[in-house]
Symmetry: C2
Subunit: 134 residues, 2 copies
């Protein structure tokens, strides 16, 4: 933990700070436009590389849900998500974690289980009204 040279670079700091400033779960390119306002010359490659780095070093998490793009979350505490099938937005779901599922699953699958994730899908408050029996 206490080695290496540059560790938290300026770019990394801004990226994490922008990620933590929102409660949404932005995609890399959504973050890219947010970050550009603070670092106009940053490249999308740096955003991807540093998001990966932040995840690997326990500063953020990548949430692997459906939809084409990956999304990122500035908190590392595990929690569940709900994704809108209309607009793609992702919100947190405040449900207690089901920790106790892992061992029964290990028993019948033979896997070692490291994590689980629950993704709900549906329509967000905005999208649900703009589709009253279209």
């Amino acid at each position: 933990m206490t080695s290496s040279t540059h560790r938290i670079t300026h770019q990394r700091e801004i990226i994490l700070q922008r990620l933590q400033s929102v409660t949404s779960h932005p995609t890399a390119d959504e973050l890219y436009v947010m970050i550009k306002q603070h670092l106009p010359r940053i490249s999308i490659a740096t955003v991807y590389r540093n998001l990966e780095w932040l995840v690997d070093h326990g500063y953020a998490q990548k949430i692997e849900v459906g939809g084409r793009q990956k999304r990122f979350d500035g908190t590392t505490r595990p929690h569940y998500h709900i994704r809108c099938l209309g607009c793609g937005r992702v919100d947190d779901v405040a449900l207690p974690l089901f920790e106790n599922l892992h061992s029964p699953v290990e028993n019948h699958t033979g896997y070692v289980v490291t994590k689980h994730h629950i993704e709900f899908t549906g329509y967000c408050p905005q999208c649900k009204q703009s589709r009253q029996k279209s």
Copy 2:
């Protein structure tokens, strides 16, 4: 349900049949190679188009899990999955469904919830031994 012209074409039939012939959860290109043995001139575009069609018409499901490629499932009964972080394979998890989660989630998120999915991740029997404290 009873309209249109061609409905189940030969290609669609073979694709669904191949998909249903396996208990794994193949990606589009894994299916493509399986299907080519029966329809050597089929194109990958047809596979994608028809998988989409089969899903939309209730013959199959797309399982939106992590990893880069989408996977398909020849059964439409909802169930949970576990994905191996080593080799990427996906297996079924025989856990009863948590149907009762939807209304509490609707209440606190304001979404209309249509589905949910649980994805476990870990290491499959094969991969877990080939990584004894590497």
